[in-house]
Amino acid sequence: MNEKKSKTDWIPVVRQEKVEEVIISGGLFMEQNVPAGSNVWVLMTKQLRYLSPSLWGCQLLLLCVAIAAALITSMDCSDAGYMIFTMAPVAGFLTVPEMLKDLQYNMSELESVCRYDGAKVLVLRLISAGLINVLCLTMISAAMWEAFGVSFLKTVIYGLVPYVWVNVINLFMIMLLRIRSRRVGVLLSVIPAAASYLFQPENMMFYDGAVVFWLAALAAGVLLGAGEVCLIMKERNKREGAFLWN
């Protein structure tokens, strides 16, 4: 038994020349730099690095405000729902202008000649920024749920609806006016964020029966947003220079 094992474990002696040959071949392969494809996780983490500190800071600030409010104030379910509704547009107002950063820094030309071109990168960016926003809103909702006993699902929806719609309107204005500057984009995005405060849903909108309305508004916003992203991708794939410096 032991003899058999020792035979299968036998390691052949390799000549030094052979070892060197393998090392040289490996080195030559490394020099070739054949693209093997970055996995989605690597691309996503690179896009997280792309996002500005201002976007991260804005999320952190909102989170702190929400937690402080949950700790020191006394609200009923309706007030808590309304508070999330008013906070969400602030979370969203920096997201769309962030997508213009490649144009602001004249990087779109360089990114568009890479294997993963501008259109794909834009989608990755939207997903990265969106995930951060949604994560922040979820944490705020969790704080409200814990402090005031508001249904977790409902608080998430109350946040997502204004968030999605602010982004949809931002994106629409940027497409319509062909904005290429991030600063102008940020200024412009204040309008839908501010407009959302004019739309003050009555407290009765935060009752159980209105959930269907909220879900319908969310679905409509997501569909419109997806349509806008498809249009942008189509425009970029046309390669007619709309995203070039001059």
């Binding site: 730099n33 820094y105 779109s108 030309e109 000649v113 294997r115 993963y116 071109d117």
Partner: protein, 241 residues
Amino acid sequence: MELRISNVTKAYKGKRAVDNFNLELGEGLHGLLGANGSGKTTLMRMICGLLRPTEGVITIDGVDIAQAGEGYREYLGYLPQHFGYYPNFSAMDFMTYIAALKGLPKTIAMERSESLLDELGLYAVRKKKLKTYSGGMLQRVGIAQALLGNPKILVLDEPTAGLDPKERVRFRQLLTSLEKDKIIILSTHIVSDVEKIADDVIIMKEGGIVYRGPQTDNLEDLYLHFFRDGNPEDGMRGNLK
């Protein structure tokens, strides 16, 4: 490998930036000379697939580059005329970011980025943010990123802009040291950039070719011959001196 530009025209609002252009490019270093506004950048952008020709077709080994898409871009290294960068990235961040977009595996990307930055004299400052770099240093980062992925087609649009004379010499040395199995297109309005190092010279004027031939000793005179009545603002005479 052969890059063929057949009857290519690019028109912007009725004005033809590139007009019925025909060119075949094989492996080697091709110098594309022309005054500002002669259509060089538009041509470079079409070669890189950033712009689609209004008419005509660009092929690589017989395949339309628009159809080849991702497969073609894998072969491509590009330095745009106006090199952009994210100011909060360090040189190393920037290189690995571009490497990820080019689809290079992480370990190879790190190793190749470090070696290129070393080759271009930026290794010591590779962790510093790009916003602290001088114009010449940024241009070197641009050249380094174009060389990532060992591209088979290297397109350099005004690569020496912002480089001081010493750096220009170094850049020329780097270009000549590159392997000869690449198609390298160097577009410039500065004759000395292509003098002596280009295998063949193409002179562009008003969107078309006015001269194509091998490297000559009197390239400056030849260039001036075509642009004798050129606009002094295009800077070519100044650069020639």
